[in-house]
Amino acid sequence: MSEHNVHREVTELESKSATAARLFDVRRIIGGLFVVYGVIVTLAGITASDADLDKAEGVNINLWTGLGMLALGVFFLGWLWLRPLKQAPVPPEEPTVE
């Protein structure tokens, strides 16, 4: 069990790996979730009651947090839109015979 075995085995697996080609882009998930959360929390901020404001030291914390989350979500979606992943070549289905 030498270094070369591990090295060769992993190199061979790397050539068959499907992650690069098939894994979705996490920016879409972060962007999507934070836009949804941002909208929900911002709405809670717009409709905040006096009790809510008093509890949070007079700060409309839902509004500010919601807007912040919305901005982060939009940032990730914008980044995704401007710099989409370059599609890696799909690896061959059959391993090449060595």
Binding site: M1, S2, E3, V6, H7, V10, T11, L13, E14, K16, S17, A18, T19, A20, A21, R22, L23, F24, V26, I29, I30, L33, F34, V36, Y37, I40, V41, A44, G45, A48, A51, D52, L53, K55, A56, E57, V59, I61, N62, W64, T65, G66, G68, M69, L72, A88
Partner: protein, 567 residues
């Protein structure tokens, strides 16, 4: 994550019952959306799993910012968040040491010095590196201990989650354990490491969205930073808000440690042991797409790590002002209650839901990091090397999914055990954390000293672990040497384990055969493996992607952060 004693307060085993949060439908909607997204990531990542390398290491193909945020997130488990806030309420600004001296130098060392050997040798796990550098003895010992500890710590995380959820939301403990266990099981079995990492990245941002409002509001409530430090100085003395006050050798301070044990024990031995050899962390870097990205993984993680301390320390300090008797018999609140208390007092519905979601997400990610590293070590280091060898790759993917399920079930079992033996559990946790330190000795000597022999790895590991345990459980617990606190004892145990491991390694090396020179290529300093020769990818030569610049930048920034806390 593994919780080394230097990071862990006791798991929050006793949250006060009156901390029930006033959650409503809005908060539960936010929580439900998160659970749906978590499962969705698992299903969507499933189609990317074709080989065992995809399942265990994301096919070594992720970009650096993703692995970097996952790296910091795997450490940012809820036990760390609650524990470090507790630490601040109890000891004050000393907490910054766990970040600036106790994390950043080690993370930078991992990225700049060690990563070329880890990533370049194409090993799939930390124990596998020991196999190549030393022999099967060191490999099997480290794999078995790691696998056992990972399941145990996943269980302790699950148990801590159940207690917090019971106190805050009123769910029975078994419901919380089964629900969280099920979701972790589902998303890791489906999508493997990719889905664990993606969830960690998501968790990172949700945690920030939870902690920032708590920090801002609690600071406002105590009258800003000046109001905070004034109140604390009045109540606890000036040292409470400084990093180094009262840490002279011979001085008494609540931490029970002086500047030397802080720098050597925490900053060098414990922290290097944790950050550079704990596979639950290193695995994130090994899944990066090339050597440059792997090197940048801990370096990118270092920058948020420098500033996260403020988000846990300020709420902890504020809680010490708002509840002056916190943690003493004069109050129902424990130190661990600091953040839940502030959530209850300050957050209206909406942000409250985000905070609850962030806390639950952090518990689940802490467990998932352990499970996803456990299944890798158990499958590729134990099963595929010693039990069922040379089967086709699909077999190991199937086995990896099966062992994930077994690992989750085992940690659910551990969690139920922990609820009846929580003292034993915290002992066991301390015990396993000693294992990181000797592991670091073995690595550092193995990487820098060619002569270190094949047998020396196993014996160094064994001797170091034993010495640390003897110091802690015999010398300290039996009162043979006098150390003022558990934390202080941990620092000394770590130093003892380090020295014993190093001495035994050198002694064994002098009397046993060295590893043949050609088998050391790419494993010791001054050699190169073929994997390290690959040319940098397009765009990696940009100045802001230079590992040296990022690494030294982080060290300088951390040092600069000390300035306002030192005078």
């Amino acid at each position: 994550m593994r919780i080394p004693p230097y990071l862990a307060e006791q798991p929050p085993t006793s949250l006060a019952a009156e901390l029930r949060l006033p959650t409503n439908w809005l908060d539960y909607t936010i929580l439900a959306i998160y659970f749906v997204v978590v499962l969705g990531i698992g299903f969507a990542a499933r189609r990317s799993v074709k080989t065992s390398l995809d399942f265990f290491l994301s096919g070594r193909s992720l970009p650096a910012w993703v692995t970097g945020l996952a790296f910091v997130s795997a450490n940012l488990a809820a036990t760390e968040i609650l524990g470090m806030a507790a630490n601040s309420a109890q000891y004050g600004a000393y907490t910054v040491h766990w970040y600036w001296v106790g994390a950043i130098p080690a993370m930078v060392f991992l990225g700049l010095v060690m990563m070329p050997f880890y990533y370049g040798s194409k090993v799939r796990s930390v124990p596998e590196f020991l196999l190549l550098r030393f022999d099967k003895g060191a490999h099997l010992l480290s794999s078995a201990l790691f696998a056992f500890a990972a399941v145990l710590i996943a269980g302790v995380n699950l148990y801590a989650l159940a207690i917090v959820v019971e106190a805050l939301l009123g769910w029975p403990q078994w419901v919380a354990i089964v629900v969280a266990g099920f979701f972790v099981l589902a998303y890791i079995t489906l999508g493997g490491l990719s889905s664990a990492i993606y969830n960690e990245v998501l968790q990172f941002f949700v945690i920030l969205a939870a902690l920032i409002p708590i920090t801002v509001l609690s600071l406002k409530k105590v009258g800003g930073w000046d109001g905070l430090t004034d109140s604390l100085t009045k109540a606890h003395g000036a040292d409470f808000v400084t990093a180094w006050g009262g840490t002279g050798i011979g001085d008494a301070n609540p931490l029970g440690a002086n500047w030397l044990t802080i720098v050597l024990g925490l900053g060098f031995v414990l922290s290097f042991g944790y950050w550079t050899t704990n596979f639950a962390e290193v695995q994130r870097a090994l899944s990066a797409k090339n050597l440059s990205a792997a090197q940048r993984t801990p370096l990118i993680a270092a920058f948020p790590k420098i500033f996260i301390v403020f988000l846990v320390m300020i709420p902890g300090l504020a809680a010490a002002v708002l509840v002056p008797k916190i943690g003493t018999s004069g109050s129902d609140l424990q130190y661990n209650d600091a953040i839940p208390y502030l959530m209850e007092q300050l957050l209206p519905n909406g942000v409250l839901g985000i905070a609850v979601t962030g806390l639950l997400a952090a518990f689940m990610a802490g467990m998932a990091a352990n499970i996803s590293s456990f299944n890798t070590v158990f499958t590729s280091d134990i099963w595929a090397k010693y039990v069922v060898r040379d089967r086709e790759d699909e077999y190991y993917v199937r086995f990896g999914r099966l062992i994930t399920a077994i690992g989750v079930l085992a940690s659910i079992g551990t969690a139920f055990l922990a609820s009846s033996f929580s003292n034993i559990m915290s002992y066991l946790q301390t015990l396993f954390s000693f294992f990181n330190v000797p592991m670091f000795v073995v690595f550092i000597i193995g990487m820098f000293w060619r002569r270190a022999s094949m047998k020396s790895g196993f014996w160094g590991l064994l001797a170091g672990t034993t010495a640390a345990m003897i110091n802690y459980f015999v010398l300290y617990k039996q009162g043979i040497v006098d150390i003022p606190s558990d934390q202080g004892a941990n620092f000394v145990s770590a130093i003892a384990g380090f020295v014993a491991g190093a001495v035994v390694m050198v002694a064994v090396s002098l009397f046993t055969a060295p590893k043949p020179e050609e088998a050391l290529q790419g494993l010791v300093y001054g050699t190169r493996s073929p994997g390290m020769a690959e040319p940098p990818a397009e765009g990696d030569d940009a100045w802001y992607r230079k590992p040296a610049l990022l690494g030294w930048g982080a060290v300088i920034l951390a040092a600069a952060c000390y300035v306002p806390f030192s005078f």
